[in-house]
Amino acid sequence: MYFRKLGAAATLAALLAGAAYAKTDIVVGMQLEPPHLDPTSAAAGAIDSVLYSNVFEGLTRFMSDGSVVPGLAESWEISEDGTVYTFKLREGVTFHDGTTMDAEDVKFSLDRARAEDSQNAQKALFADIDTVEAVDPATVRVTLKQPNGSFLFNMAWGDAVIVAPESIDGIKQQPIGTGAFKFSNWVQGDRIEIVKNPDYWGEPAKLDKATFKFISDPTAAFAAVMAEDVHAFAGFPAPENLPQFEADPRFQVLVGSTEGETILSTNNKMPPFDNVKVREALAHAIDRQAIIDGAMFGYGTPIGTHFAPHNPDYVDLTGLSAYDPDLSKKLLAEAGFPDGFTTTLKLPPPSYARRGGEIIAAQLRAVGIQTEITNLEWPQWLEEVFRGKDYGLTIVSHTEPADINIYARPDYYFQYDNPAFQQLMVDLNNTTDPAGRSAILKQAQEMIARDYVNGYLFQLAALSVANAKIKGLWANAPTQATDLTGVYWED
């Protein structure tokens, strides 16, 4: 009897001691589930949100502040004329299936991405590549058709990660990368699990296991975090709930920057928006602060052009489109619409669009522009608006980093066709010195702001909620990623 008691006490002591150890697993909530798991063949950001840096790595990579650092390439040399990049790869890197990662895999990945029949969603990243040669197993030489100042930046994208020819066929269900985590299990409609990769070449992950749980409904997301069913929620969908988390000592709220320029996209080819006066009137009818306060509960930074405010080359052009309904009415009258007009406003699901849309509709109504609001789900939005260009106005956040070059594509969904701007982007690609690039970027920002291509609303804030004991989460979202490689639980 005595001994049994002693045994029980020992068990209890062991349990208590065990509880003091830091947790090594994490459940991360996320709103959107990936359609499949190949980041190199789909535009869906949800794929990168799960896999970027965790499972897949590229030659270079983004850090949380947006800087580009060496990834699988340890170092590189750039030729005098800026057209030949010689990458020195890290040695001893293996894929999760045990095969080694060498120059042939890099050549395979880049050639596959830029091939004629490639499914890559960002083929423009690879457009300047002329040839890729595997010099020896640890050296890759990439020759460009022309100098490209953003080539190293391009290689850091999730669309440019290194994949292996051995495992490419099953990548959509069974992704095999080189990262600090290995893909383990996907329960479709519910969760994706990844586990620590014991053979990782770099600093090993501090967590043993991570689960991404997909919760699309904002109310359910709130409940899941409150009940501590999920330990962190990346990209929390309901900003109105954040003050409650902030007031609760169990949680920390991370507010960072994203690359998401949230804009009132305008169909530049559809009358009356083909008239710059009408677009200018639109810009002056919008009260940005009311939209940020009403739709995002104050989270967001006003922008006056398609550029991220935290970027050193950003120019504050919000003054060009200051809120001035009287000026807006005057411009409409000059453009031949003294009584306004009616147009469509098609809104995708996020609350910045749905709520922002209602506010913008009210603001436009005040200057005489009537809008017919249609709420669309993402697939419908992509079909009707993005591909079909069947819309007058829409609201969407462009989350790709440094994407001002989309204005050089006349067939892009807002159909802005300005040869001067297109030339500017060609010049940008041909310029490698930082001062010259900065000047061109500033000029480009001003050009689209003065053409009032779209209504520039605000920079989306990165809003995450996590257990107060979790350290190492990214506050910013320089790219679509939930990098867990440096995440750990504090004791």
């Binding site: 709130f222 309901a238 109105e240 709930n241 009403g294 709520r355 209602e358 506010i359 009210a362 109504r365």
Partner: protein
Amino acid sequence: MNRNLVLGAGLTAIFLLAALLSFAWVPQDVTQMDIANKIKPPSAAHPLGTDHFGRDILSMIMVGARTSIAVALVAVGIGMGLGVPLGLAAAARRGGWLDEVIMRANDLVFAFPSLLIAIMITAVFGASALNAIIAIGIFNIPVFARLTRSGALSLWTRDFVLAARVAGKGAARISFEHILPNVTNLLIVQGTIQFSLGILAEAGLSYVGLGAQPPTPSWGRMLADSQTMVSFAPHMALFPGLAILLTVLGLNLMGDGLRDVLDPRLRRDRQ
């Protein structure tokens, strides 16, 4: 005087009057947003508080009543307008092929849950108040067709119908001149119940975003908008929720009361 009828009619009248009044006057224009005053609890300036865009919730409920009542009323109109003639025709040709066709078609519509049909219709033809009306109207048709037919069947065996036939009146004339007036009581009672179901259906469709589109205020969408804010702004969900509850309760009580008053069998039982 029937207590249910008075209470029900009173509740219904409040919302009808609020809807009518909203055409002439509301405390605050519902298209006017006032972001600086968003999510304010009830106060003297805003008796029911303000919503997430700073709009006055009392005004929203008044204008929203318009949407609910209009949708439900027209939907019941569609159901009666089509269902009653179908029911009369089926009863007039009882046992014939027309009866079979009409009643089996009704069974087919009945076989689907009503809200599911409504969601399907609005999903296919787009979300709008008009499509919500059509969707809710369609599942009202078999309700009225069935009710009219069953009421009419027993009437067709009565002596006064026989007399009309002997006098040479055709089936259509008998149906409208003798049968229809005698099923009106049934229709009024059922109409009241269907009206309350229509309001509930409209709120449900708007809640999932398939009813009236913004900026038209609607009780269901007010509830949906308040969903993530319930934990810190319960008034945003409470008042539109109460509006739906009280209107539906009022109409149901009124329906019960009307049945008590109008149904001759029940009347005799009481005496």
